[in-house]
């Protein structure tokens, strides 16, 4: 048991900040991202004998964090009266370091495309590891990635005044 705690603590210490930044990039709310990542690590500790064998522990954490909640956002009445109602989680908890347009566009993606982008692009995993983590064929991962990136591009071109490419 003590050995397990040490191993988990080492994993947590090494992975927590990376996972937080990936989840924060997607959900756009600092407090929410930390809650989700902490919850995912709690589940990892509960199933540590299994999770420790996972080929990409960070991917397991990020996927679990993103799937814990369909949606969750803090609301500020004052903001809601002036902001778009379609901005989702990106409409709240402002953080100057966040790309608000990107957060909103990510929020509008289908969940599977968002997962693939999180693992392939933000965690920089290869296709094989992403496929194993998500239980998908490698070709399907590539397909979700292409569609997700194309959808993001269209969304941003539509909703931003300045073209991005």
């Amino acid at each position: 048991m003590e050995q397990d705690r040490r191993e988990f603590t080492d994993f947590y210490t090494a992975a927590r900040d990376d996972c937080l930044r990936v989840v924060l990039t997607i959900v756009g709310d600092r407090a929410l991202a930390e809650d989700l990542v902490a919850e995912a690590f709690t589940r990892a500790w509960r199933g540590w004998r299994t999770v420790r064998e996972h080929p990409a522990g960070r991917a397991w954490i990020v996927r679990t964090a993103l799937n814990t909640h369909v949606s969750w956002w803090r609301r500020r009445r004052r903001e809601i009266t002036v902001a778009s109602h379609d901005e989702g989680p990106g409409a709240v908890s402002p953080d100057p370091a966040l790309d608000r347009s990107l957060v909103a566009a990510l929020c509008r993606l289908p969940a599977r495309q968002r997962e693939v982008i999180a693992l392939r692009v933000l965690l920089d995993l290869d296709t094989a590891t992403t496929a194993e983590t998500l239980g998908l064929p490698g070709g399907t991962v590539g397909s979700h990635l292409s569609r997700g990136l194309a959808a993001l591009r269209r969304d941003l071109l539509t909703n931003e005044k300045e073209p991005i490419a």
Binding site: E34, V37, S71, L102, A165
Partner: protein, 230 residues
């Protein structure tokens, strides 16, 4: 990763967005992760006991906490917690109250239990309720909600939980807050509501706000979109 220049631009923007957050760090120590798991395991045991009581016709029952009552640093005995499988209300030695909600079933009982420990709240189950519209601003929770970030203009939350909930095979909210009832501003109350199995892909949804007691409360049984009012 991608040969298409346009998509490569999007990929670059994603990684730039992530890298811009290099200053963000998890403020949760590993010890808190272990503690969360211990609390979760304790709650699971109580949930199983609550279900057995319900099967025996004791749908609503107050039970003592496992083990003896907590003692404050001054030696006084802290009040025993009130708890159901659905929720727990615990008075703490420092005067704060911690409520943990897996769902808001038995809402009248939960509302009375919260009132007894000084937490004014309207509780609903089976619908999502919010206090008024833009003309009824939420109240600031800074100063009486532990670990809550004060937000100008008041604050509330809405959540929808998917798949296995945080309390075991039955989906639940696993939502916990600690408040200091004596610091709650007069004229304010919580509006807490939840409903289950109403959203495709989600098992339970919930909302809470802190609003004027005079604000009208509107409820819906439909899924809300971000920013939408009932």
């Amino acid at each position: 990763m991608n040969g298409d220049p346009a998509l490569a631009t999007i990929t670059e923007r994603l990684t730039e967005a992530r890298d811009a957050l290099h200053g963000e760090h998890m403020n949760v120590p590993a010890s808190e992760i272990f503690a969360r798991d211990r609390r979760r395991r304790g709650r699971l045991g109580l949930a199983a006991a609550g279900s057995a009581c319900a099967a025996a016709g004791l749908a609503v029952a107050l039970t003592a906490a496992t083990g003896g009552p907590a003692r404050a640093p001054d030696g006084s005995v802290a009040p025993r917690p009130a708890q159901l499988a659905a929720w727990t209300v615990q008075s703490n030695p420092d005067g704060s109250v911690t409520f943990t909600l897996n769902n808001t079933s038995h809402p009248a009982k939960l509302q009375r239990t919260l009132a007894r420990v000084g937490v004014r709240a309207v509780v609903r189950w089976g619908e999502i309720c919010m206090a008024g519209g833009p003309g009824q601003p939420l109240l600031d929770t800074g100063g009486f909600m532990k670990n809550d970030t004060p937000l100008e203009g008041g604050v509330g939350s809405y959540m929808a939980v998917q798949g296995q909930g945080t309390g075991g095979p039955n989906p639940d909210l696993g939502w916990s807050e600690t408040v200091f009832p004596r610091k709650m501003p007069p004229g304010g109350q919580f509006v807490i509501s939840a409903m289950s199995h109403s959203v495709p892909g989600a098992d339970i949804q919930a909302a809470w706000e802190f609003a004027k007691t005079s604000a009208p409360i509107a409820c819906t049984k439909q899924l809300l979109k971000p920013g939408q009012e009932p």
